[in-house]
């Protein structure tokens, strides 16, 4: 933009110079808004320069930008300083107009694009969103054999639907197999365990004379009992994780907790533990009854097990959460590993180490948030519903 103005100024200068040269008696000194010419000393020639200035314009009646061209010209062997100015105002106006039109055009284009795109994309992706919706609604445990996908003309989506259908069928089959395996493992393992247990019991009924013999038998019996419990706990865990507890009903957690606390109070008392319960009138949750019982059983027995003589246990139940607090020695395992399977802290050889893993699995099933913290001397497990 400025370049073209500069060029115009140079042209004008050439014009002026040739005009002045043709005149017999040129008017060699004048000055106005757009042009000025005055003689200078030979020694003080001025360098040619372009500059932007602002000055008052009589035509516009305000200060406006000008482009100024200053140069020295020689007429009749005398140097003169020639200053030519050109208003930049009309250029600014032009730029503004062009800019405005362009912005408007682009805006219109974008709006048009947006609507057309939306429309096309919607129509194009519609089968995809339908597929997505169907997948979201699919529940491995409760839904039937497969998912119905919508018919579509788009090859890619046809492929996608076909593959998804195949995958879901396969997953479903594996799931059923796993379920059956769980059931079978349960039966197959419990039966031989029953046999061992019953045989040992029969041996015990006979005359055991040697003290060593009694010890052997009683150790074997105890180990069998532990094995049976371990097997049951593992199966329970597998069943929870396979989402096999489907019957959820509204249960009154407050009532259940009171019931359980009454049972466990006896055990707590025997270890000299104080068991306090602070609950709200009635906290209702939609849960499987059996799992709710297991959850509370495991928490309570955990609170008693990992405690010390004359310690404290406090349970706080509100609409939002259940907080289980109990005194105990500082744990020697990291808090985040506490809910892992077979994590035991050193002082409890007896426990099988699945109690809290089961608690965690139940919480996961119902999307409860569970957190463990240790604030000396309290172990705190908080479950947010």
């Amino acid at each position: 933009m400025i370049d073209s103005v500069d060029e115009a100024l140079i042209n004008q200068k050439e014009l002026i110079v040739s005009e002045l040269k043709q005149q017999q008696t040129p008017h060699l000194q004048f000055s106005n808004e757009l042009m000025s010419l005055k003689p200078v000393d030979k020694t003080k020639s001025v360098a040619t320069s372009f500059s932007n200035i602002r000055m008052f314009s009589r035509a516009e009646k305000e200060e406006i930008p000008f482009r100024q061209y200053k140069t020295t010209i020689i007429i009749n062997h005398h140097p003169y300083v020639l200053i030519i100015r050109k208003s930049l105002l009309e250029h600014d106006d032009l730029i503004m107009t062009i800019l405005l039109t362009e912005v408007l055009l682009i805006l219109l284009l974008f709006i048009g694009f947006y609507f057309v795109n939306n429309r096309i994309l919607y129509q194009l992706w519609e089968p995809f969103y339908q597929t997505l919706k169907n997948i979201k609604q699919y529940n491995l445990a409760s839904s039937g054999i497969g998912v119905e996908f919508p018919e579509t003309d788009i090859n890619e989506f046809q492929d996608l639907n076909k593959e998804l259908e195949r995958m879901i069928k396969k997953i479903r089959k594996d799931y059923i197999n796993l379920k059956e395996f769980t059931e079978n493992a349960s039966h197959e393992l419990q039966t031989p365990l029953s046999v061992i247990k019953s045989k040992i019991e029969l041996i015990m009924q006979g005359e055991l004379n040697k003290e060593g013999e009694i010890q052997l038998i009683s150790d074997a019996y105890e180990a069998t009992g532990k094995l049976a419990k371990l097997n049951q706990a593992l199966l329970l865990l597998a069943k929870i994780e396979n989402n096999q507890y489907q019957q959820h009903q509204e249960i009154d957690l407050t009532e259940l907790l009171r019931e359980k606390v009454d049972i466990y109070r006896e055990f707590a008392a025997m270890r000299g533990l104080k068991l306090e319960l602070d609950d709200f009138a009635s906290v209702k949750l939609k849960m499987n009854n059996y799992l709710a019982e297991v959850l509370l059983n495991n928490l309570l027995s955990n609170s008693i097990k990992h405690n010390y003589e004359d310690g404290n246990i406090e349970y706080i139940l509100t609409d939002e959460s259940l907080i289980a607090k109990n005194t105990g020695y500082e744990p020697d395992i990291q808090p985040e590993k506490l809910f892992n399977r077979f994590q035991k802290s050193g002082n409890s050889q007896q426990s099988i180490g699945l109690g809290l893993a089961i608690v965690k699995a139940i919480c996961n099933l119902y999307h409860f948030e569970i957190r463990y913290t240790f604030k000396n001397p309290y172990h705190i497990i908080e479950i947010k519903f």
């Binding site: 059931e183 349960s186 039966h187 197959e188 393992l189 419990q190 039966t191 031989p192 365990l193 029953s194 046999v195 061992i196 247990k197 019953s198 045989k199 019991e201 029969l202 015990m204 009924q205 003290e211 009694i214 010890q215 038998i217 009683s218 019996y221 105890e222 069998t224 009992g225 049976a228 419990k229 049951q232 069943k239 096999q244 019957q247 049972i263 006896e266 055990f267 025997m270 270890r271 009854n289 059996y290 019982e293 297991v294 059983n297 495991n298 027995s301 008693i304 097990k305 409890s348 007896q350 426990s351 099988i352 109690g355």
Partner: protein
């Protein structure tokens, strides 16, 4: 008393038979559905122990069959399936009790006796062995007509002992009988010990006899001469 054990695991069935024979029961075994079905149609039993999963059929059908022929026998399901559904299903179609494997023989014995008592001694509300008497409906216990003042757990304990007279009873089976399978307490045996101590004290105070003998390392034996 005639009992039919329907259990496909032969050695478990044998164990049950051995235990019950000492109680003076006549115990017959069926290792599969067909044999069991044949037996219940031919003979009369006082109680039937049924495993649900049999190689050639479902134990639950056997119960339906028993109901169809209007059998008066008590029915106890013994199953490895411990889900609540199975339990409820079993009880709904008419079984009297449900025991999950692996169980203690002494517990099976106690349950069997309870079922038989409910079924066949309806008029007779008492359960008496020599000088000991229990009235189950009212949770009362007597020694020679002197009433024992027992807590709920002590009463349960005495009932369990009286169902397994002169038998070695393990502390594990006592803990499970008193608190159920969900009890996962490391030191539950201490609790068993505490209850036994109290029961023993109360019984000795009345009769001057110590009925409960400690079998070192294993459990207890309830002695009646």
């Amino acid at each position: 008393m005639k009992i039919l054990v329907v259990e496909d695991e032969k050695s478990l069935a044998e164990s049950i038979k051995a235990y019950f024979s000492k109680e003076g029961y006549i115990c017959e075994l069926a290792y599969n559905y067909d044999t069991a079905n044949m037996k219940i149609h031919v003979y009369r039993y006082d109680c039937i122990l049924v495993d649900i999963s049999l190689p050639d059929g479902n134990g639950l059908h056997l119960i339906n069959e028993l109901k169809a022929i209007q059998s008066q026998a008590g029915i106890i399901i013994i199953s490895a399936r411990d889900s609540l559904d199975d339990r409820i299903k079993g009880l709904n179609i008419g079984s009297d009790d449900y025991l999950t494997k692996p169980f203690h023989l002494s517990e099976l014995n106690a349950r069997l006796k309870a079922v038989i008592r409910r079924k066949f001694f309806d008029g007779q509300k008492e359960f008496q062995i020599q000088e000991l008497k229990i009235i189950p409906d009212e949770h009362l216990a007597f020694i020679d007509d002197h009433q024992l003042t027992l807590t709920k757990k002590e009463y349960d304990l005495l009932y369990y002992f009286m169902s397994n007279i002169n038998r070695v009873i393990t502390k594990e089976s006592i803990a499970e009988y008193l608190w159920g399978d969900n009890m996962d307490m490391a030191d539950s045996f201490d609790f068993v010990y505490a209850h036994i101590k109290n029961l023993r004290k109360k019984m000795t105070a009345i009769s001057g006899k110590d009925y409960i003998e400690t079998v070192y390392g294993i459990g207890y034996k309830f002695r009646l001469s």
